[in-house]
């Protein structure tokens, strides 16, 4: 049975990675999971300089999910290259570095800095709903998304995954735009912008007022968007959004994803990624499917 997938020329041992921001750079989860058994580790977003992020409270629970407004706190690319990449290189897994920025120059600076680092892929975050400038600004206009993709591709030595926002009218149009800009893959969905109000204190629950909604509650939306995107572009799709078990992951692949990212579910069960890898294998075996790649887009 084959569990290997090829995402834009990079071979993963299985189709399971971690959603950016939920897994740090893997160090905290290494106590719970064998990082060698992940197809790839996708890191927390990193910028050209350290970012302090938003005030607290930064997280809130909702029924079937959560909201976050971390605000892309990160240690900056220098410390990241010095500490996080060498840590991850000790494991037999692919490294996907999530890149964030406030301007085209910011993104390109990080991408250029990573060009000669031992990382396998880059994921460009143009979809964070929790920072005022940058991020989402590039992710809600097809023209801006195409331009930032083209700019980043000029500096990138690794394949570029553009991470798309669900907070748009037509995600297929956004996917086509980044494909036209030269993206090697897309990942979706980032979180959906939401709001939660504390009725007892009569104020916003998150200090940022709004936050990104994630978890099982958003899974059907993510499946639909992955499906729409799969009909629109030829580049591979990394599907994410509320995947909490192997069944959810398989569903996402059937809708058109070549690989899947697991995010919020890590908070509910720190070993969930291992269970998802095992569960996909069992599903293939039980259904006499020889190759995991047969799942991708099998439902049309």
């Amino acid at each position: 049975m084959n569990m290997k997938v090829n995402i834009a020329g990079v071979e993963w041992k299985n189709p399971v990675t971690t959603a950016s921001g939920t897994f740090g750079s893997g160090a905290e989860y290494a106590d719970f999971v064998d990082l060698n058994r992940l197809g790839a580790v996708t890191t927390k977003g990193v910028a050209s300089v350290p970012w302090p992020g938003n005030p607290t409270p930064r997280v809130a629970e909702i029924c079937g999910g959560m909201m976050n407004a971390i605000g892309l706190q990160n240690p900056g690319i220098d410390l990241f290259c010095e500490r996080d990449i060498p840590f991850l290189r000790k494991f037999d897994t692919k490294i996907i570095v999530n890149v964030c920025g406030r301007s085209e120059t910011d993104y390109c600076e990080v991408v250029e800095r990573l060009a000669d680092e031992a990382v396998d892929m880059l994921e460009i975050n143009i979809s964070c709903p929790n920072v005022k400038e940058g991020g989402i600004a590039f992710g809600q206009s097809a023209k801006a998304a195409e331009e930032i993709t083209r700019a980043v591709k000029r500096y990138a030595k690794q394949p570029v995954i553009m991470k798309l926002s669900p907070n748009v009218t037509d995600i297929a149009e956004m996917a086509r735009a980044v494909e036209a800009g030269g993206a090697d893959a897309v990942s979706l969905i980032n979180t959906l912008t939401g709001m939660k109000i504390d009725i007892h204190r009569r104020t916003f629950l998150l200090a940022n007022r709004t936050g990104g909604v994630s978890g099982p509650a958003v899974h059907p939306i993510a499946v639909r968007m992955v499906y729409d995107t799969a009909q629109a572009v030829k580049i591979p799709i990394i599907g994410m959004g509320g995947i909490a078990n192997a069944e959810d992951a398989i569903e996402m692949m059937l809708a058109g994803a070549s690989a899947v990212s697991v995010g919020t579910a890590n908070f509910h069960n720190p070993t969930v990624t291992m269970e998802i890898v095992d569960g996909i294998e069992r599903y293939l075996e039980k259904n006499h499917i020889e190759d995991v790649r047969e799942l991708t887009g099998a439902v049309r």
Binding site: G21, T22, F23, G24, E28, Y29, A30, D31, F32, V33, D34, L35, K44, P50, W51, P52, G53, T56, P57, R58, V59, A60, E61, C63, G64, G65, M66, N68, I70, Q73, P75, G76, L79, G215, P216, T264, A265, N266, F267, H268, N269, P270, T271, M274
Partner: protein, 261 residues
């Protein structure tokens, strides 16, 4: 690597200590390495409630591999309300022990304040049991006459009580009790609501006393990955490379001088 996992721990017993305050003993491997001031992340079996609830450890019994948690039910249909319905023989999923815990050894030869306020009272019990110091002064602040754990504190040191409504001990807050009894200390350990910790930090600075505070914040992962539960720090944090520390991983206990409250 990969040897830790979510454990389905056995509930040994549960009792009500006061209105909305529950005490639960749990059989768990987490007890073996647990330290006072650490916490465990407890999960509900409600599929709609995904995030763990960080609950401070109240007592540790390493030999029998059991932990005691004392917690407040925060409202209807909350995770803590679900925990309160568990009985001996039920199971509870958890991970832990998490966080750093109180630096117990710093109290040696010193006069210590062990201060707990509200639902910050419980972790002070195991601290009181383990700490060795010249003078062990436990100051516990409550809302009202429901002074849970008071008798158990009395077996472990001098106990001073404050209540917001004056129904027991000194009327006011924990520092009112300290002043009323003219207590003095060389080191402070404290856990409780932020306004209380802010006042204690100011008191410690004024008196030039070493002070450790245990902080609370809304958490998601509980293990240092998601950066949800940070606090502001006076110096640049080595891990984050900004003036933020992770309460779940780098804390919950910090030297008061190093955090902004």
């Amino acid at each position: 690597m990969g040897e830790k996992r979510k454990e389905n721990a056995l509930v040994i017993s549960q009792e009500v200590l006061a209105d909305g305050i529950f005490s639960m003993w749990i059989r768990t491997k987490a007890a073996v390495s647990a330290k006072p001031g650490q916490f465990i992340s407890m999960y509900t079996d409600d599929g709609g409630k995904l995030l763990p609830r960080p609950i401070s450890i109240c007592e540790i019994n390493k030999e029998e591999e059991k932990l005691r948690v004392v917690y407040r039910v925060t409202g209807k249909n909350t995770g803590t309300e679900q925990f309160s319905r568990l009985r001996g023989g039920d199971t509870i999923p958890l991970i832990g022990p998490l966080g750093n815990g109180f630096p117990v050894e710093k109290a040696k030869g010193r006069r210590a304040f062990l201060i707990g306020g509200g639902i910050g009272v419980p972790p002070i019990l195991e601290l009181a049991k383990q700490i060795e110091c010249e003078k062990k002064q436990i100051v516990a602040g409550y809302r009202d006459m429901h002074t849970f754990l008071k008798e158990e504190f009395e077996e472990n040191g001098e106990v001073y009580i404050s209540t917001e409504d004056g129904s027991a001990g000194v009327k006011g807050n924990v520092l009112d009790a300290v002043r009323e009894h003219a207590l003095e200390a060389d080191i402070i350990y404290a856990c409780g609501p932020t306004p209380m910790l802010r006042a204690i930090k100011a008191y410690a600075e004024e008196k030039n006393i070493v002070c450790y505070v245990s902080l609370e914040e809304r958490m998601a992962c509980g293990i240092g990955a998601c950066l949800g539960c940070v606090c502001k720090t006076s110096k640049k944090d080595a891990h984050s490379n900004v003036h933020n520390s992770r309460i779940c991983k780098d804390g919950p206990v910090f030297p008061a001088a190093e955090v902004e409250l």
